[in-house]
């Protein structure tokens, strides 16, 4: 059974090679079919791995190079439930994105399909590997595919700039990761994460360990887009082709956080474990900032894709709080939350793709009332917005309640306010656009400075005939994705399984024993978490109703009596404008912010972790 682990990566890689090699002979439809089937096969492999890793850690040594007396000789895949789950989720989203691309993109030979498959292989390998340098290789593999996919519509300015900013900042992140890996290798003489963790725990931590931790975390935070490393994300996600956006927003950003979780529990926990409280405080604060500021920016956007991009950053902040609480119930809850939210956000991106396909625009004002004859898309978009605002019984609600309960246990009850605010504001932004586009509510307005990607080149059917109705293969993904988001909240034993997976990931001793000494470590048995209480439903209702009220207030602002004194309103508006100005589109600024972020996190870590 263990042999499925390498195949989950090898199958898409080989298929990508076949597609590229036969580009000149095979037809577009054939490429579509091969790509979807390959992604489905890889997803199935990951799902089987997920089922197996629920019983014990799956360790696979490539080339059969078993470790010798605790020293890793080769590269291992060390598969735990959360990693396998994330890989499965990545596979699912890529499948859906490929189905959506069926009618969506004009492609040049089969390069698009090959790139998507390599992207998938990179993400799956990233989730499964137990070797730090191998993690870096997959990090670069998925990034390289992503740069090319974001810049796909290279004939226009915005995708070019988005891809450029994305590639420069993320390459810098990869280099920081490599500096961190080099330092750890210099200290431990190891690349296997279990071995590094074991070795680091043997001696007191010093500056080297802090510097390595900071550089690794900063590199992965750039990928995850934690404030202040986040600027590139809005530029890249607002211009990528829609199916690519769905994958980027639902999975790729979250991988950055997964990597931080992975390295903390596998490599650094033994060295810094005594200072867990300090790290918890730092991560929760960083998560709070990342959740709130981008939520406001999300609300201020009228460019639908850019709005969803900021929603992505805001949710990354919430997930960072979840993983930053450093307990197994918070991590398990975050896993549920992350996957459910990924489904919902992908469905929202796909809805925007449909609007773009039919109306050739993604600007809320330009689309004002032009979606009235698209009731189905409108309904789906609005439901997605409510799900984003964690309406029960969606998985977002369940995940949010789990994390909130865990936060209360750790004495961080105040983060509940952050969760409610961020989910209500981002949900309200979506609901407001739904009202404006599909119902024609609210006054018409001036559209923002246009960096809209000309849609003509994105869809296959450029003629008017194709725009009159939405192809079925475009609806199918929306329904499937929303159903996925709902299912995450309804599958009965899911929370318990997620919590067990989280506990397995956090058990460093068992991880070392399984990877380096071949112990068949079992996954701990844990009781099921209590189902959401009345209080949880109240919080869910608060954020859902809050989103509706906020959306209505934004739409009918003119008719409202002036509740807020004008100077205050003006001041708030100026503040939001100032924050928006920081996202200047200039990569030099972004790099300066990244360096500042490294310094801030480095200072925080060195002051508290030693």
């Amino acid at each position: 059974m263990n042999h499925l682990a390498p195949l989950a990566v090898a199958v898409p890689i080989i298929a990508a090679g076949v597609l590229a090699a036969t580009a000149s002979v095979a037809s577009r439809r054939l490429a579509d079919i091969v790509a979807v089937l390959t992604a489905a096969a890889s997803t199935t492999l990951c799902a089987i791995l997920l089922a197996h890793s629920g019983h014990h850690q799956v360790v696979y040594w490539f080339g059969g190079w078993q470790p010798r007396s605790g020293i890793a000789v080769g590269i291992a895949f060390a598969v735990d439930p959360l990693g396998a789950g994330l890989a499965t989720f990545a596979g699912l989203i890529v499948c859906v994105a490929l189905v959506f691309s069926w009618r969506h993109l004009e492609t040049i030979s089969h390069v698009y399909h090959a790139l998507m498959l390599v992207f998938l292989a990179g993400m799956v390998g990233f989730c499964l590997t137990g070797d730090l340098f191998n993690l870096f290789v997959f990090f670069e593999l998925l990034s390289t595919a992503a740069y090319a996919l974001v810049g796909y519509k290279i004939d226009q300015r915005a995708p070019l700039e988005g891809s450029l900013n994305f590639a420069i900042t993320n390459s810098l992140g990869a280099i920081m990761v490599l500096f961190g890996i080099s330092l750890l290798y210099g200290r431990t003489g190891a690349l296997n994460m279990a071995q590094i963790g074991h070795s680091l725990a043997q001696q007191p931590a010093d500056g080297l360990v802090v510097a390595a931790f900071t550089l690794l975390v900063a590199g992965f935070f750039i990928k995850a887009a934690v404030v202040p490393f986040h600027f590139w994300l809005a530029d890249a996600y607002s211009v990528a082709p829609t199916p690519v956006c769905a994958v980027l927003s639902a999975v790729m950003s979250e991988l950055g956080l997964y990597a931080v979780v992975r390295i903390w529990w596998s490599c650094f926990h033994g060295a810094f474990g005594d200072h867990e409280d300090a790290l918890r405080a730092i991560l929760v604060v960083a998560g709070t900032i990342t959740a709130l500021i981008p939520a406001v920016l999300c609300f201020a956007q009228t460019h639908l894709k850019r709005m969803l991009a900021y929603a992505t950053v805001s949710y990354i902040g919430l997930f960072l709080i979840g993983v930053g609480l450093l307990t197994h119930d918070a991590l398990g809850g975050t896993a549920v939350y992350l996957v459910a939210d990924g489904f919902v956000k992908a469905s929202l991106f796909v809805c925007v793709g449909i609007i773009q396909h039919r109306r050739a625009s993604v600007d809320e004002y330009r689309l004002h009332g032009r979606g009235r004859d698209m009731p189905f898309t409108g309904a789906m978009f609005a439901i997605g917005g409510l799900a984003l605002a964690s309406l029960p019984p969606f998985g977002t609600f369940l995940g949010k309640s789990l994390v909130e309960d865990a936060a209360v246990k750790e004495g961080y009850g105040w983060v509940i306010v952050v969760f409610i605010l961020a989910s209500a504001i981002t949900g309200a932004a979506v609901l407001r656009s739904a009202g404006r586009v599909f119902l024609g509510l609210g006054p018409e307005g001036e559209s923002e400075p246009a960096f809209e990607v000309d849609e003509e080149t994105e869809t296959e059917t450029g003629d008017d005939e194709g725009r009159r109705r939405t192809p079925f293969v475009m609806f199918l993904p929306v329904i499937a994705l929303l159903a996925g988001g709902l299912a995450m909240g309804l599958i009965p034993r899911l929370p318990q399984a997620a919590l067990r997976g989280a506990a397995a990931l956090q058990d460093q001793a068992a991880y070392v024993a399984a990877v380096l000494h071949g112990a068949a470590g079992s996954v701990p048995h844990l009781p099921a978490p209590p189902p959401p209480t009345g209080l949880d439903y109240l919080y869910g209702a608060l954020s859902s109703v809050g989103a509706l009220v906020l959306a209505a207030a934004a739409l009918f602002r003119e008719r409202l009596p002036a509740l807020v004194p004008r100077p205050v309103a003006n001041g708030a508006g100026a503040a939001v404008r100032a924050v928006r100005e920081l996202n200047s589109g200039r990569v030099g600024d972004y790099v300066a912010w990244i360096v500042a972020g490294v310094t801030v996190f480095g200072a925080a870590f060195s002051l508290t972790l030693l």
Binding site: I13, G17, G63, G64, G151
Partner: protein, 258 residues
Amino acid sequence: MSRRARLWLLAPALAGTMALVVWGFTGLADFGHFQGAYGNLLAKVAVPERKATDIVVSTTFDYRGFDTLGEEMILFTAVLGLVVLLRELRGEQEEEEEAHDDQEGHAGREHRTSDALRIFGFGMVGPTVVLGVYIVTHGTLTPGGGFQGGVVLATALLVVYLAGRYAAMRKVSPLPLLEAGEATGAMAYGLIGLGGLIIAGMYMKNFIDPGTKGSLLSGGFIPLLNIAVGLEVAGAFSLAFQEFLDQTILLRGDGGSE
């Protein structure tokens, strides 16, 4: 942010980051005193186990061969990316190229190289190819291997460009063959890994007798992997050179006066 503001942000930030990095470096062993468990182990066991004299190669292709699969895929992806990112420009340029063709007759427009340079250049192609093939196939014995040899092979194409003309290079370079070769090389690596799974029971496990130390065919499947990588790298770099040269030449044609 203005450039001045950026500098004000950058200066303290970079100072702090540099302090952190230097602080980290002070924790490293003194230069030349490194004792890495992993490296020491490989230095001891690699030659007896793998019969390949070049441990860097046996590490790259066998002990850490899976990294190299990923690395090769990165190269493959990057070339696909170049095809995507440079394509539209090419489409636009074709029209301009037609206009350009009309003026082909203009004297002095095409830069001509001297006969001596051309003869020397074309004479170099053969040795370059031989050297490339030599480096690819002798990777298990001496410094080199698929990556290094592949790049040398790709430079053969550049020599043609330097010695002759762009048009000559376009004529001699079999583009579809390069594309297929590049993809095949990338695929072949994954397939050889699969061979390990089917024949030896483990993905990326050697399934060919490692032979005797020092002979050309020693190292088991490492020479095969080297050839796959050589194919991929030569194809990828040739394609990359060509994509860029296409752009440059056509852009230069754009300028008109050069």
